[in-house]
Each structure stands twice: as structure tokens, then as C-alpha cells.
Amino acid sequence: MQTNQLLLIFCSALLLLGLLAFFAGRSKATRLRSAGTAMFAQPDQYAWFTVLSTAGPAVVVSALGAFVLLLMGADIPTLYLLAASLVIAAIGLLVSLNQVKPDFHARQAIERVIRMTLAGAALISILTTFGILISIISEALRFFQMHSFWEFITGTTWNPGASFLASAGRGDGSGAEFGSVPLFAGTFMITAIAMLVAVPIGLLSAIYMSEFAPRKVRTVAKPVLEVLAGIPTVVYGFFAAITVAPIIVNIAGFLGLDASYNNALAPGIVMGIMIIPFISSLSDDVINSVPDSMRQGSLALGMTKGETIRDVVVPAAMPGIISASLLGMSRAMGETMIVVMAAGMRPNLTANPLEDMTTVTVRIVAALTGDQEFESAETLSAFALGLVLFVITLALNLVSVLMIRRFREKYRVNNL
């Protein structure tokens, strides 16, 4: 028999058993109640309890079985597994029907199950993090068995070229070099350009919105700016590659400079534009939560509005502003599509933003979209790069959270 058909039969059998449980449970409870016994719960609650105890264990058993089947490749025939589950369901039904007694707290039992289900859902987020960590670390470890960690961290040549030959059994792959320094240099360069665009514009816009702008301008400007954050990155990538890069090449040519069409400036600037709302929005919130007493204290000393902002409000909001910038930075470092589409593929250790250079995320995509064996060093190198990226962005996020917490405690604001 087909697995699909088997599954269908199993599901309908379970459904039938569940229905049976519901009505049997309810009728027994109703009967008991109409006999005049005081009961702890409503008949429906008993009914649901019987359903839960019929279907619950059965589903759990079959899911566990399927898991074992899939992972261990254990040889349990599906038919037996499902049959066993159904037997368990039947046992559950009988036991629970027996439990339908006046002094049984059916509602509490149900709510315990609900509570556990909710807690189980909450654990998924932890599992996800672990999943990311485990998947990246285990593959990265395999990579570091092939190539030294030290060479990866300090090497200045990234040339995975010959490694696929090694995995195909030809050559020994000795020509491949995995020095990630040029990739990180590219990432940092583009991130730096993005921050040079985003931090001043974002911060100054936030200052305007929170300190100078009339209420109306503010209510319009904030959501409009946030549109910038909602534009998909692939769209920004296209914009950077098709529109911004040629403009930069033209301007550079006009100035007598030589710029590559894959220069670092275009993705950097566009990434900066993308990050503006992250910085402006959070900075705006932070500046707004600087207590008004600070501003009044300064104004009462005969300071102008500008001096108050520059010397009192902005310094007070500084932890929040730094926090926003760090968040923006972590986003820029992990950003993929813009650089994949607009930055170069060539690992290039240079300080000239007009040259093409590649980034960590570009190489991760390149390594995983080629026709490589999964086992090849180049594919696995993506996970090593991903690991470093994970560590860096995690550190940036944690520092950012700490900074904002310090700000929050200092001024006792709760809305951040």
C-alpha cells in the first residue's frame, strides 16, 4: 500500500476515534449530571478531555516514530507504526472515558495540556537559534578540518578555485586558499560607506523630526521614511547596480578617476539609504524620551535651541543613538542582496572604494549557488564565513541592547 493512502486511512481512523471520544465522553458526563451528581466541570470539557487523551498520545507516538524512521533510518514498517498508534488511541479513549467521574477536574487537565503546548511553541524560537548555531558550527568545523582556522582568519588570499577538483577526486586541492581577510575588508568597507551615509542623515533627520518639525510634518515624515526600510533588498540591489553604479562611474570619469562598475561605493551608498530609517526611527524615539527637564534646564540658562540640542539633548541621547547605529551596522554587515547584485566577485584587498571588491555575504551566496558538491571545501567555507558573521552581528546586537538598556534605566523610560 502507498504511504499516502496509509496516512489517509490513519488520519480518518484517528478522526473517527476522536469523534467517538467526544460524544461518548459528553454523553457519559451528561448522564452523570442528569443523575443529579455535582460535577467539577462541564460535559463539554469532559468531552474535550477524552478527545485529547485519545488523539494526543497517538499523534505523539506516530510523530516520534516518523522522526526515528527519518533520522535513524530504522526499519519500522509504517503500517505497524500507524497501527500501534491507533491501538494507543483506543487505549487512551477507554482510560479517559473511565476518568469521566464527578470528582475529576477535566478543565484543569485540559488547561495543563494547553499550557504545555504554549510553552512548547515558545521553545521553538530557542530551537531556531540552536538550529542556526548547530547547522553553522558543525559544517564550519568540517571546513576547519580541511583548512586551518589560522589561515582562514589571517590569510589575505581567497581563492577557492581548485577545491572542487579535490572533491571530485582529481588533484589534491592544494591550490585553494581560504584567507578571509579580503572578504571582511570588503564587508567593512561597504559597511563603513553605508554608515557614513546613514548615520548623519538618519540622526539629523531624527533631530529635525523630534526638535524642530511641526507636528504635522512629523506625523507624515516618519512613516514615509519607513517606506525606505520596507523596500525589499533585491530592489535596492537592482537600483544600486543599474542606476547608482553607472552614475558613480560617470562622475568618477568626469573627475578623471577610474571606477569599476562593481565599485564599492554604489552598494555602500544604497545600503546607507536603506539603513536611514533604522537609525532615524530609533534615534527619534530616543531623543523624544530625553526628559523635557533637560531641555528646560538648558534653555533657562540662556542657551539657544541649537546649543541645547547639540550640547544637552544629543549627548543625553547618545547611548540610544549609538545603539541605533550598531543595529544599523549589524544589518549592513549581514546585508546580502545589495552586495550580491552590485558589488564585485573578486576578493580585493584595497582601500579604494571605486574599485570592485567582494564581501562575506557575496562569497557565501557564490559558494552555495554553484554546482558544487556539498562536501567541497568551497561550499563548507560558506558556513565558516557564516559563523564569523553570526558572531560579529550577535556581538553588535548585544552591545546595542546593553546601551539602550542603560539609557532606559538612566531616564526611566519604558517605551523603548
Binding site: L70, R107, E111, R115, L118, A121, A122, L123, S125, T128, T129, G131, S135, I136, P200, I201, G202, L204, S205, I207, Y208, M209, F212, V224, L225, L228, G230, I231, P232, T233, V234, V235, G237, F238, F239, A241, I242, T243, I273, S280, T304, G306, E307, G334, E335, T336, M337, V340, M341, T361, I364, V365, L368, F374, A382, G386, F390, T393, L398, V401
Partner: protein, 388 residues
């Protein structure tokens, strides 16, 4: 010791100027950000709007005997470099299905090739001088026309620019989003309910909270690595399928839904819960019957925003292989599919000029959907917003 107003005002002039300057600089920054936005949309519109039109040429198709084996014979020799290969390719099939047509001829509008299309729209093209002349003559006599591009909205991807459409990507996006929502919505809402209404304030709860905030800030490409290593390599979920893409995106959307649901739950005042407890409801009954219904608009708004975010995501999908070439529209969770952003990415990589327009057109479609979703969320929030 003290100064008169006049003396002070004199010194203040310079400082006031500085203050005003700061105002203008900050205003300029906001203006600059706005200008970026305007330029961006202007650029996308100017590049993408032409994609919604497509060149057609009116010609006499003569269904001769030879055309049954070689579609080119059905057309005027001079026209062949101008019309689409797809128009030629369908002729033999058409004749085989309707043998009666052989020997007849009829005037019809046929799809022009992308070079004609680009030439008419004033873009870079590869037509020779003679071809341009022939075309110009037909334009004069009204035999060439730009019409609404049904192909773009009605068909899947193609290597032939004039035949490429976005429909398969739209369907792929819908399938992927169904998976994403089906996973992230229940889990996200349940997590939020647990954390907000049930969780004891212990170490584990704190870890979960910190972890959720962190998850929201992890670069999306790392979710792709997870999808590849765990879903595809470990569990054997089919590569490139809406299932694996949707599962990967679900993990990314989870924190958005959890955070917005918690905010919505928190905005339901404690007095509602106390009222529920007061009439003898259990905690779960209070949540189910009183808190959740009141928080629902907020939860929906957050979920829509999370959905819009997931819809524009590309990087993790590339890693799990959802950049496949999908010419046919297929409704399946386990077959290879592509999504709109991935389609845009693929087209952006095509060297042909006509694909630039397709890319920008695809972007306009995607942006329209995303902006409508967000606008819908905003309107919903406004409509159901409640002040306690």
C-alpha cells in the same frame, strides 16, 4: 556684573545664526532622505512602466504547406527579424491541430521581438539600419503598435525576453507565503500568549525573550544556511520548493509576529483580565474569550507586516535554491518554484536590455503588493485602534 539686554543680544546674534543653521541642516537631511525616496520611485517607474506594454506587429500569416514544418514560412521574409521566435514556433503546432487551416491566410497582430519592443520604447536595441527602416515604415502605416502586456502578467519565466512573465513567481510567492503563515502565525501567537499571559518570571523565560530579540536581528542569509543544512540536508525537504522556502521564512517571520502579538496583548488593560477572573474564568478562558479577541486587530496588523517583510526576502531563498527557472505556472508545495524577489534577481542577471525593463516591471508589481499590504495594515490599525 550683569549685562544689559543690548549687550547680550549683540553676542547672541552669532549664536542664533548657528542655531538656525542647525535647523536648516537637519531639515535638509530629512529632505535628502525624502529626495532619495522620490528619486528611487521615479527611477523604478520610468524603468518599469514600459514593461507593462509590449510591441505587436500586424501581418498576414499565410498557412502554407511548408509552414507546417517550418513556422518561418508563414511570415513575410522581411518581417522575420522583427517578430518573436515564440510567434513562429507556435505555427506548426497550430497547423497540426487544425489541418483545415492549411492554404488559408489571415491578418493578425503577432508578438514582436524584444529588439523591436526596445526600439519603439527608445532603448538600446540590436536592429540593423535596414530593419529599422522597415520597422519605421510599418509604424507609419499603423501596423506596429504597443499594447498592454498580457504575457507579462499571464505567463511564467522564459529565456526569450518578450515571452517572460511574472505569473509563476506570483504563484510561487503565494504558495510560499501560505507555508510561512501556516507555521509562523500559530507558533508566534502561541509563544506570545505563553510569554505574556502564562510564563513564570524565571531564567528560562528571560532567555527566551532575549533570544527572540536576537533572532529578529540575525542576518537573513544565516536563516538560509539553517534551511540548507537542517531542512534540506538533514530532513530531506525538497530543495527549491515552496515548502522549504516557506519554512525558512517562517523562522524569520516568527520574531516579528511574537513581538507584535505581545505588544497587542500588553495593550489590553489588566482590568479586563481581572473582570474575567472576577466571574470565575480560568486563565485560559480569560485569554481565549476576552484578551485574544481584543488583541486580534493588533496581532493581524503585526502578522501582515511580518508577511510583507517575508515576501520581499531573497537571500535565504537563494541559499535554499528558490532561484529556479520556472517557465510553467505550478501549484504545488513540493515542486521547484520561484518567488517574486527571486525572479527579479534572476532577471536582473540577464544581460539583455529587455530584461532590465522586465526586472523593473517585476519590482513595480512587488512594491505595489508590499505597499498595499502595509497600507492595509496601517488602515486596520487606525480603524481598530482603541484607547483605554
Amino acid at each position: 556684573m550683569s549685562h544689559s539686554f543690548d549687550e547680550i543680544s549683540q553676542q547672541l546674534k552669532r549664536r542664533h545664526r548657528k542655531s538656525t543653521r542647525l535647523k536648516w541642516i537637519t531639515m535638509g537631511s530629512l529632505g535628502l532622505a525624502g529626495l532619495f525616496l522620490v528619486l528611487f520611485f521615479a527611477d523604478m517607474l520610468s524603468k518599469g512602466l514600459p514593461a507593462f506594454q509590449q510591441a505587436y506587429i500586424q501581418t498576414e500569416i499565410s498557412y502554407t504547406q511548408e509552414a507546417e514544418t517550418d513556422g518561418r514560412r508563414a511570415f513575410d521574409e522581411e518581417l522575420l527579424p522583427l517578430i518573436s521566435r515564440t510567434a513562429v514556433r507556435t505555427i506548426p503546432l497550430e497547423l497540426r491541430n487544425n489541418p483545415d487551416m492549411i492554404g488559408t491566410s489571415k491578418a493578425e497582430w503577432v508578438l514582436a521581438n524584444s529588439d523591436v519592443d526596445q526600439y519603439l520604447k527608445g532603448h538600446r536595441h540590436r536592429l540593423s539600419d535596414e530593419e529599422q527602416e522597415a520597422l519605421d515604415a510599418r509604424v507609419e502605416s499603423g501596423q506596429v503598435d504597443l499594447r498592454f502586456n498580457t504575457t507579462f502578467f499571464g505567463s511564467g519565466d522564459s529565456k526569450i525576453a518578450e515571452n517572460a512573465g511574472i505569473l509563476s513567481a506570483v504563484v510561487g510567492t503565494i504558495m510560499t507565503m501560505i507555508v510561512t503563515l501556516a507555521i509562523s502565525f500559530p507558533i508566534g501567537v502561541m509563544t506570545a500568549i505563553y510569554l505574556e499571559e502564562f510564563a513564570p518570571d524565571n531564567r528560562l523565560t528571560q532567555i527566551i525573550e532575549i533570544n527572540i530579540n536576537n533572532l529578529a536581528a540575525i542576518p537573513s542569509i544565516l536563516f538560509g544556511l539553517l534551511g540548507l543544512a537542517i531542512f534540506i540536508n538533514f530532513f530531506g525537504v525538497p530543495r527549491s520548493s515552496p515548502l522549504v522556502g516557506g519554512m525558512t521564512l517562517a523562522l524569520m517571520t516568527l520574531p516579528v509576529i511574537i513581538i507584535s502579538t505581545r505588544t497587542a496583548l500588553r495593550s489590553v488593560p489588566e482590568s479586563i483580565r481581572h473582570a474575567g477572573f472576577g466571574v470565575g474564568c480560568s486563565r485560559w478562558q480569560v485569554v481565549r474569550d476576552h484578551v485574544l479577541p481584543l488583541a486580534m486587530p493588533g496581532i493581524m496588523t503585526g502578522s501582515i507586516i511580518g508577511l510583507a517583510q517575508a515576501m520581499g526576502e531573497t537571500a535565504p531563498l537563494i541559499i535554499v535554491g528558490m532561484v529556479a527557472f520556472i517557465p510553467d505556472v505550478g501549484v504545488s508545495f513540493t515542486n521547484a518554484a520561484t518567488v517574486m524577489p527571486a525572479q527579479i534577481f534572476t532577471w536582473a542577471g540577464e544581460p539583455e536590455q529587455a530584461f532590465v525593463e522586465k526586472t523593473a516591471g517585476g519590482i513595480l508589481v512587488l512594491l505595489t503588493i508590499l505597499i498595499s499590504l502595509n497600507a492595509f495594515a496601517v488602515v486596520m490599525r487606525k480603524k481598530f485602534e482603541r484607547r483605554w
